[in-house]
Structure formats: C-alpha cells, structure tokens
C-alpha cells in the first residue's frame, strides 16, 4: 500500500505498470505513479509504448486468417451438422413421444426453464454506429481517439476534455478499440464487419474458382 503523496521509483513503476493499465492498483499507488510519470521521461515513454502495444494488438485487424479459412470451416461444420442431425433425428423419434407422455401427465413444463428472458427491442433504437450518441466520452489534445472515463489507454491526461460520443465523432475522433470494444464488436457484427467479410469471402471464392479453372 502506498499512501497518497508518496513517491515511487522506476523499478516499482515497471513492476506495476501492467496492473496500472488494468486499473488494478490502489488509489494511493496510482497517485504516486501518476506523479512519477510527470517527472520521469523514461517511465512516461514506457507507459505510452505499453498502451500502444495493448491498443494495436487489441484491434480486430491484427487477426488474419489464411485465405479460404471461412469457406473450409463452413464446409467442415456443414458435414458435422449433417452427422449430428441424423443422430438427432434418431433420438427425437424416441424423445418426442416420451415428452408428450410427460406433458400429458402434467409433470414437466417444457421450454420455459431453458430460455433467457428477452428484452423487447424497438426497431427505432438501432443507432447507425453502435455507440450511444449521448455517451460521455473523453478526448485529449494529441490523439484522434475518444475513450470512456477510466480507460487505461488515455494519453496525455492533463489535456482531457469531456464531450458526447456524437460530438466526438463529428469532430473526427475515432472510438478506442479497447474501452469501446463492445460497441464496435456489436456494430461490426450487426453490419459493417459482416459486409466486409462478405466482400472478402466473395473475393476469396473468385480467386478459388479462378485457380480451379487454371
């Protein structure tokens, strides 16, 4: 435990820097490390570089799959699904009459215990980019990325200012791929990534067919 106002040396900072970025150091140590970063250029450089590493590798684009990966996976799963469906139909031939008998006996309530409650969704409640327009976000002077408060990869904290996500986007800031990941993943799955993947898939199919023709 480090009390607020205490100082820490470089070795302590290096040992705790990962926990600091995870938000897992106590407030006293965090304050001491913040103070150290103001005065130690080396540790500040380590902090910024480590943040960059987390941000770069956390980006979906860092994951590249071999050409045709999706097509081959789909085919193999289709074969697996066929096998399971045959097995399933054999089972269900027995299962259905048994279930019917149980229902008649009044002993079992089917289905309701196996499904999650599903919130009602308005069709009008689908923003174009997945991030709530009124979400308070933070931008800083020397970065083009906006974050939610407390994000571990905010640079240059002394220049922080708060605005809404809509304003940040209008001013040309891009969402942080770490703290806003859930919105990006959601938006990507809902549309843009699927669209991109569909195009990639089409291109791969075309290349595959061309190679086959040759």
């Amino acid at each position: 435990m480090v009390n607020e106002g205490n100082v820490v040396n470089c070795e302590v900072v290096w040992r705790e820097i990962s926990n600091y970025l995870e938000g897992e150091v106590d407030p006293g140590l965090r304050a001491a490390m913040d103070g150290h970063f103001h005065t130690c250029a080396h540790c500040r450089s380590v902090l910024e570089g480590t943040r960059n590493v987390i941000q770069l590798y956390g980006d979906e684009r860092m994951i590249e799959v071999p050409s045709g990966f999706g097509r081959r996976l789909e085919r193999r799963l289709a074969r697996g699904a066929q096998l399971r469906s045959r097995a399933w139909s054999t089972w269900s031939a027995w299962l259905l009459p048994v279930a019917a008998l149980l229902l008649i006996a009044g002993g079992v309530r089917v289905a309701s215990s196996h499904t999650m409650p599903r919130p009602v969704l308005s069709e009008l409640a689908q923003p174009g980019h997945g991030i709530p327009a009124d979400l308070p976000v933070i931008v800083t002077a020397d970065a083009r990325v906006f974050h939610v408060a407390g994000c571990g990869v905010i640079h240059n904290k002394q220049t922080e200012r708060t605005l809404t996500a809509k304003e940040a986007i209008e001013q040309g800031y891009a969402p942080c791929t770490r703290c806003l990941r859930k919105y990006l993943e959601t938006a990507a799955r809902a549309g843009s990534t699927l669209q991109w993947e569909a195009e990639t898939y089409s291109a791969e199919e075309e290349a595959y067919e061309n190679a086959k023709a040759r």
Partner: protein, 220 residues
C-alpha cells in the same frame, strides 16, 4: 445530460438476443445454423489456436476441431457464460491437447512452467506516442507486429493473446491455461514490456516512420 436508455439504445442487446436465439435453435436440433452462430468468432478462435501451436495448418485444423466439439457440446453451454469465452476456452483446450500429443513444443517446454523471477528493465527509447489505428491498414505494420508477437516465449505469447487480443479477463485467462492469476499477471507484464521494447525499437530504426501520416500530423 440524459442517459441513454440502456436497453433500447444498446445494439449489443440485439446481437446477444440473436445469439441466444441461435444457440437455442441449434440446441433444439437446427445444427445447420451453427456456422452462423460461430462466424463472428472464427477469427478469434483461429488466433487462439495459432498462439499456442505457432503453425497455421495445425491452428486451422484445431480451430475446426474446436468448433465441432462446441457443436457436439452445445447443450452443455450455460447462458451465464459468454458464448465467445466458452468457445475460446474449448479452442485453448484443444490446442493444448494437440501440442501435448504431438510434442511439438519440446524446445520450449523447458521454461514453460516457471516465470522469470528477476525484474524486467524496459529499454530506453525516444518517446513513442499514440499510433493511429490507420497504421494497421498497412500490411507491413501488421506483419511487424505479428513477428514481434511470434518472437515471444510461448508462456508470454499465450497469456498476451488471450488477454489482450481475445479480451478474456485475467481470471478467464488463468482458467483457460490452467495457471494461477498471479502467473497471468506476471507473464502479461513481461509480454507487454517486451513487445513495447521490440516495437519501439523498430520505430527507432525507421519502419514505423515510413507510414503515410498526414503532413504535419505525426502522432508521436
């Protein structure tokens, strides 16, 4: 400022509802929908397998095996867990079993079980400020990042990939790899610092500096 309605304005809820619906339908026997269910995660599954096996062909095969195992065991999936995390954990298990079976990690096995106890001293580089996400559009940059990651010892690479690329939390990472939370934290620290040293060094030698940033907007 008015807070957005957490349910109505959250498209994640729509995706989760769709995912739960697909899971329920596959569990009821519509197995042909399984690819639709796992498609958003296929890249992450492959990356997890590759981090452990370091061989593209083996990683693809294990990714497929893991998906088939997930299909076979989907009825055991419980909704309180994230489906993606469950899928990644199956993949990690499959990959670890493959590696044990084929003994491909003989050369790395010697140091696999223990963490380096000494302090790690980050190298002193010029300030490396924020990399804009546009940098990742360049294949050259992605290759450099992949090479740096591949150069790490596997104990560091595995933890880093599961935590920082697959976005599992510390506890989930520990459970997936069968190691302690303390080991995850130690390895994660070292992996991050080593990658920072490798990449900041690369920048000093010029390969980042060739990136096509807007004139006058060099971000570091």
């Amino acid at each position: 400022m008015a807070q957005p309605n957490a349910v109505l304005n959250n498209p994640e809820t729509a995706v989760l509802t769709r995912e739960q619906d697909l899971i329920a339908r596959v569990q009821r026997g519509e197995h042909e929908l399984f690819y639709e269910l796992v498609r958003p995660y296929e890249r992450r599954v492959y990356a997890a397998a590759l981090a452990i096996l370091r061989n593209e062909s083996d990683a693809e095969d294990v990714a497929q095996e893991a998906m088939l195992k997930a299909l076979a065991n989907l009825r055991q999936f419980r909704a309180e867990a994230r489906f993606s995390t469950w899928l990644i954990q199956i993949t990690v298990n499959e990959a670890l079993m493959r590696r044990r079976r084929e003994r491909t990690a003989m050369t790395e096995a010697i140091d696999a079980g223990r963490d380096d106890e000494g302090e790690y001293t980050p190298r002193d580089f010029a300030d490396w400020r924020e990399i804009p996400s546009e940098a990742l559009e360049r294949k050259e940059v992605r290759q450099k990042l992949a090479q740096a990651l591949a150069s790490l010892d596997r104990k560091y690479r595995e933890v880093f990939v599961l935590r920082d690329m697959e976005q599992l939390n510390i506890q989930e990472t520990a459970e997936a790899l069968g190691i302690s939370v303390a080991s995850v934290k130690t390895r994660l620290l070292r992996a991050r610092l080593m990658l920072r040293d490798l990449l900041a060094g690369g920048w000093e030698h010029g390969w980042f500096s060739r990136l096509p940033f807007e004139k006058g907007s060099k971000p570091w």
